[in-house]
């Protein structure tokens, strides 16, 4: 057991106790959490700074407004319904099209208007929010999967999670939906997490549930060595978005749209630790490297450069 602890420490692996005690509790001010916990506020913040986000079609705040939902989406054949305070991808309903008066979901099910409305009611009553408090519901643009991910994702849209520490990207992974995850890009629900080399933007090994995999279980295509286009831009967007919040330790979730390019989807002040397994690398070692040189890093571009230079994959 002690040799294992020693090996993990040598690798610079970050455990959950240390993440909480030395990073999230230390670098993230409690008063700033609402900025990232409320997806609506994140969206406003990003828009103000000129960072692209999925277009907002409308917001439902009380049950009485649910009836007006059909007006909000009248012009759109596809859209996404998500609770503003949802965590871990819960409560997200993706509508990809219509058939007569029914809505077709990403998983191919046909839902009546009433069923969709019931879902909205549940989200408003706080079923998916942390602590169960009443919530708002966002209706927004449905991101179109970029061709680079077409062959290695199932139904949903993959997202790119970048851990940013005081404006310096330290680790990244792509989360690929599978049939097990029901088209959702969430590792807990069964999505694949593929580590990404910060230097070149190519995917590395991937983790699915708790095993290391190299192919997508549904499509059979290799998930390794996939080059993500515009990687440096993506890192700059992530670093820039993190600066807006004032939070020191943050997970930024980005998506690549076929037509509109990279967008910020949401941010997370308590990002998970599985990203280390996907990258076969420890977070702690990288965080400490940043702590040692943060005072010398001034501009955004310089920070991203530092990351790409120092955190190239060893694999």
């Amino acid at each position: 057991m002690f040799t294992l602890i020693k090996a993990l420490n040598q690798k610079g692996v970050l455990g959950i106790n240390r993440r909480n005690a030395q990073y999230t509790l230390w670098h993230n001010k409690r008063s700033l959490y609402p900025l990232v916990d409320d997806k609506l506020r994140t969206k406003e913040l990003a828009l103000k700074a000129g960072i692209r986000v999925p277009e907002l079609y409308g917001v439902l705040e009380v049950s009485g407004q649910v009836g007006s939902m059909s007006d909000l989406v009248a012009e759109h054949s596809d859209f996404v319904i998500k609770p503003a305070h949802g965590s871990g991808g819960e409560g997200i309903l993706v509508i990809i099209g219509r058939s007569k008066d029914r809505f077709r979901t990403a998983s191919g099910a046909l839902l009546h208007q009433e069923q969709v409305q019931h879902h909205v009611h549940e989200a408003l009553s706080g079923l998916f929010s942390l602590g169960g408090q009443p919530d708002k519901v966002i209706i927004e643009y449905r991101v179109q999967v970029d061709p680079v991910f077409q062959g290695i994702s199932y139904q949903g849209v993959p997202d790119i999670r970048v851990i940013v520490f005081w404006g310096v990207p330290v680790m990244a992974m792509v989360r690929l939906p599978t049939s097990l995850s029901g088209g959702k890009a969430n590792l807990h629900q069964g999505a694949i997490g593929a580590g990404v080399d910060l230097a070149g933007g190519k995917t590395l090994t991937a983790v699915w549930r708790n095993e290391v995999v190299s192919e997508h279980p549904d499509t059979g295509n290799s998930v390794e060595n996939v080059a993500i286009p515009g990687w440096s831009d993506l890192l700059q967007i992530a670093a820039g978005a993190s600066e807006l919040t004032g939070l020191g330790y943050l997970g930024v979730d980005l998506v690549l749209d076929k037509n509109l390019g990279p967008m910020v989807l949401e941010m997370n002040a308590r990002p998970g630790l599985n990203i280390q397994i996907a990258n076969r690398a420890g977070l702690l070692a990288r965080l400490q490297k940043v702590e040692n040189s943060i005072s010398t890093l001034t501009g955004l571009e310089q920070r991203v450069e530092f990351a790409q230079h120092n955190f190239a994959s060893e694999l």
Partner: protein, 510 residues
């Protein structure tokens, strides 16, 4: 980092104060470190309450008297505004409370301190037994005689005869003769009275008395009926009329010799008597005093030992909760066991104290499993969150009532205590379990469920240690040490045991 150091300094300070106080009390003042049963002295409190009707009121209440096995060291009455007299009758003592006018709920207290005398040979000669008139006549005499014949046929000596008689009295189908004598639903008092009558008929001196057992178990602190039988060799012996259990006269405080209610009221209605009992640690301290007596008395005045008995009982349990919470910190932050709700297992562990471990785990799993089945069905009804929670709560209470009734029918005593489970906590557990079930599948939900039960069981085992209960109650300053350790664990940043497995793959070569 200054905050980090602050935590260490604070922890060190708390630890030092806690240890210093503990050592001072334990070695300088001689507070007992381990629970000691031998020099036990008992505080007994009877709380008498009734409704006064707004006129002159007189309450006659039976109270204990010293025997050769049990000495009354001190007694006191709390009865504001009442006149008080104590009267010695032939076999009993009575307190007579009176007042010119009283209205509404009245509460009077009687407190007594008793010490068991466990001398090998009693210094006073035990009073000799005499047969009293049995009081049977006509058909009843015939019935009593046939019962006696039956019991005699099945017994070898006087003691087995008594036990056989008690067994027969408690048989759900006692036979026609006994039915005639004691009626359809006899009370414990009726049974004890009848047993004494039948024994007297057999020319064995026997009588009935009422009192409480001197034992630290809240459930047993209630009025019980004991059958006293005279044996030529050993003198009077006490038998529990419900179980046949034999008990020494020094473990049993007689409240009244003979049948009848403990209290007689004139000008009042609905009398209620509640007994509470605790080992008197304060007096047990008397053996080894090395410090100044005055300090000790001052200290006791500012300690939990000065509280009323029933409040002391509450704190005995409350002081165990931090211990359970500490176990939970270790299980969650050092080991990494997933549980439902942060402190839910501690609350469940508290109810395990009543149900006992095995029965508790069984009942808990049963209620949660049944509730979960209902909850998963409700998922299909598409109810909104709050009404659905309320519906599950109602179902949980219904299930608990149902389990109590069933276990009562099956004569499974532990099942009755299902009512002690915190039902709101159960409901939230079921709710969260079903959400995990839906989102991460049954294996995830079961894993957390088993984790919760495991932590609850562990917390129960630690909290149930007699030594822990004693230490935390007599030395509450030990909580400072617990607090110091908790603060330190609050800054623990090493790996959890479960993470070693999770991240093991990272240590393997590429």
């Amino acid at each position: 980092m200054p905050t980090k150091n602050k935590v260490y300094w604070l922890a060190a300070f708390l630890f030092t104060v806690g240890v210093a106080l503990f050592l001072f009390k334990a070695f300088w003042l001689g507070f007992p470190i381990t629970p000691d049963d031998r020099s036990m002295i008992w505080n007994v409190e009877a709380k008498v309450s009734f409704q006064a009707q707004g006129e002159a009121l007189k309450a006659v209440f039976f109270i204990p008297e010293s025997t050769e096995r049990l000495a009354i060291m001190d007694e006191s009455f709390v009865s504001r505004g009442y006149g008080l007299n104590t009267v010695e009758k032939k076999h009993n003592r009575q307190a007579v409370w009176s007042i010119r006018q009283a209205k509404g709920t009245q509460t009077l207290y009687y407190r007594v301190v008793v010490m068991p005398i466990r001398a090998e040979t009693p210094s006073i000669k035990s009073e000799k037994g005499k047969v009293s008139p049995h009081g049977f006549s006509g058909a009843q005499l015939n019935a009593a005689q046939s019962v006696l014949a039956l019991v005699k046929a099945k017994s070898a000596d006087q003691e087995t005869l008594v036990l056989e008689l008690i067994k027969r009295l408690n048989n759900p189908h006692p036979g026609n003769n006994l039915l005639l004598l004691m009626g359809k639903k006899p009370t414990q008092a009726k049974k004890a009275f009848l047993a004494a009558q039948i024994l007297n008929l057999a020319r064995i001196p026997a009588r009935l008395n009422q009192g409480i057992q001197l034992i630290e178990d809240e459930r047993k602190t209630q009025l019980q009926y004991w059958l006293q039988v005279y044996f030529v060799k050993t003198g009077w012996q006490n038998f529990n009329i419900r179980t046949g259990e034999k008990i020494s006269s020094s473990d049993f405080l007689t409240w009244k010799n003979g049948a009848g209610p403990l209290i007689n009221l004139k000008g009042g209605t609905k009398p209620q008597i509640h007994f509470s009992l605790s080992a008197n640690l304060e007096s047990a301290l008397g053996t080894a005093i090395t410090g100044s007596k005055k300090t000790r008395q001052q200290l006791i005045r500012f300690s939990l030992l000065s509280l009323p008995l029933s409040t002391q009982q509450v704190y005995r349990v409350l002081l165990l909760v931090p211990l359970g919470a500490f176990v939970l910190i270790i299980m969650r932050n050092l080991v990494g066991v997933a549980t439902f709700g942060t402190f839910m297992p501690v609350l469940i562990a508290l109810s395990f104290r009543e149900t006992k471990l095995l029965g508790g785990i069984l009942l808990f799993s049963l209620v949660v499993a049944m509730g979960l089945a209902v909850r998963l069905y409700m998922e299909r009804l598409k109810l909104l969150a709050v009404p659905r929670l309320a519906a599950v709560l109602m179902v949980v209470i219904g299930l608990m009532a149902f389990l109590s009734v069933i276990s009562n029918l099956l004569d499974f005593q532990a099942g009755l205590s299902v009512a002690l489970f915190p039902m709101v906590i159960l409901t939230m557990t079921i709710e969260r379990m079903s959400i995990v079930w839906e989102e991460r599948g049954p294996s995830g939900a079961l894993k957390q469920g088993i984790g919760s039960i495991f932590c609850a069981g562990l917390a129960y085992l630690v909290m149930n240690l007699k030594l822990m209960e004693h230490l935390l109650f007599v030395f509450p300053e030990l909580l400072l040490i617990l607090l110091a350790a908790t603060l330190l664990l609050g800054r623990y940043s090493g790996f959890r045991l479960s993470e070693l497995r999770r991240f093991k793959v990272l240590t393997k070569g590429n």
